[in-house]
C-alpha cells in the first residue's frame, strides 16, 4: 500500500484543533458576547485601538498563528464530515474545503501586511 500523505494535513488539523480549544471561546466571547453583556467596553474594539493593537509585529504574528491553523483544522474536519454525511465525491470536497482555507490564508496575509 502507498504511503499516505494524510500526515501533512492531519498535523495542521491537530495543531489547529488544539489552538482552537485553548483560545477560540475566549476570542468569540471578547469580540462578540462580552461586548453585548457589557463585560468588554465597546471602546475596546474602536478603530484607533484595534489598529494600534494589531500593528505590532507580535500581534500580527499571533493573529496569523491562530487564524491559519484553525482555518485548516475546520477545513479538514469538514472534509471528513462530508464523507460521513454521504458525500463521497472526496476530490471535489477536498478542492472546496482546502481551496477556501488556502484563499483564507492568502487573505489573512494580505490583511496583516496591509495594516
Amino acid at each position: 500500500m502507498a504511503t499516505s500523505n494524510k500526515p501533512l494535513v492531519w498535523a495542521v488539523f491537530a495543531a489547529g484543533g488544539t489552538l482552537a480549544a485553548f483560545v477560540l471561546p475566549a476570542i468569540i466571547f471578547s469580540l462578540t458576547l462580552g461586548v453585548v453583556l457589557g463585560w468588554i467596553p465597546p471602546e475596546a474594539l474602536a478603530y484607533e485601538r484595534a489598529i494600534a493593537g494589531m500593528q505590532s509585529p507580535l500581534a500580527k504574528l499571533a493573529a496569523f498563528a491562530v487564524i491559519v491553523p484553525i482555518l485548516w483544522h475546520a477545513a479538514h474536519r469538514l472534509r471528513i464530515t462530508a464523507h460521513d454525511l454521504g458525500v463521497y465525491a472526496d476530490g471535489l470536497v477536498m478542492l472546496i474545503c482546502y481551496g477556501i482555507a488556502a484563499l483564507g490564508t492568502i487573505a489573512t496575509l494580505v490583511a496583516l501586511l496591509g495594516l
Binding site: G104, T108, A111
Partner: protein, 129 residues
C-alpha cells in the same frame, strides 16, 4: 452446509441518527462549520481594518447586529463543545508516563483546563484593558 451470508444495509445518509453517541460525534464534527465560518469572519475583519475607519466601523456594526450576535452565540457554544471534547481525548492521544507509571488521564485533562482558563483570561484582558 450452504453459505449465503446476508449483508445488512447501512444508511449512507442517516447512520449517525441511529445512536446517541453518533449524534454527539456529529455535533462535534459540525462544530468545524461554525468555527470555520467564524474564522473567515475574523479574516474579513482584518481586511476591513486594513481598509480604514469607515470600513471597520461598518464591519463592527454587522458583527454586533442581532444576527451577528446570534451567530457568535451559536459558535461560542460549539467552540466550548470543541474544547471540552478535544481536551477530554487528549490523554488518549498523548498518554504520559512518569517513572514507569501512567499519569492518570484526569490530571492531564485538568492541566489542560487550567491552561485553557489562563489563556482565556489573558485574551480577555488583552482585548479589554
Amino acid at each position: 452446509m450452504i453459505r449465503g451470508p446476508y449483508v445488512r444495509p447501512v444508511g449512507r445518509y442517516s447512520w449517525w441518527l441511529s445512536q446517541p453517541r453518533y449524534i454527539r460525534y456529529m455535533l462535534r464534527e459540525v462544530s468545524a462549520a461554525f468555527i470555520g465560518a467564524y474564522i473567515l469572519m475574523l479574516i474579513v475583519g482584518l481586511l476591513r481594518l486594513s481598509q480604514g475607519p469607515a470600513a471597520y466601523e461598518s464591519y463592527l456594526t454587522a458583527v454586533l447586529s442581532s444576527a451577528g450576535v446570534a451567530f457568535g452565540l451559536i459558535t461560542f457554544v460549539f467552540a466550548v463543545y470543541h474544547s471540552l471534547t478535544w481536551f477530554r481525548v487528549t490523554p488518549k492521544a498523548m498518554p504520559l508516563r512518569m517513572r514507569g507509571k501512567a499519569v492518570p488521564p484526569a490530571i492531564i485533562v485538568g492541566a489542560h483546563w487550567l491552561g485553557w482558563a489562563v489563556a482565556s483570561l489573558l485574551i480577555l484582558l488583552w482585548v479589554a484593558v
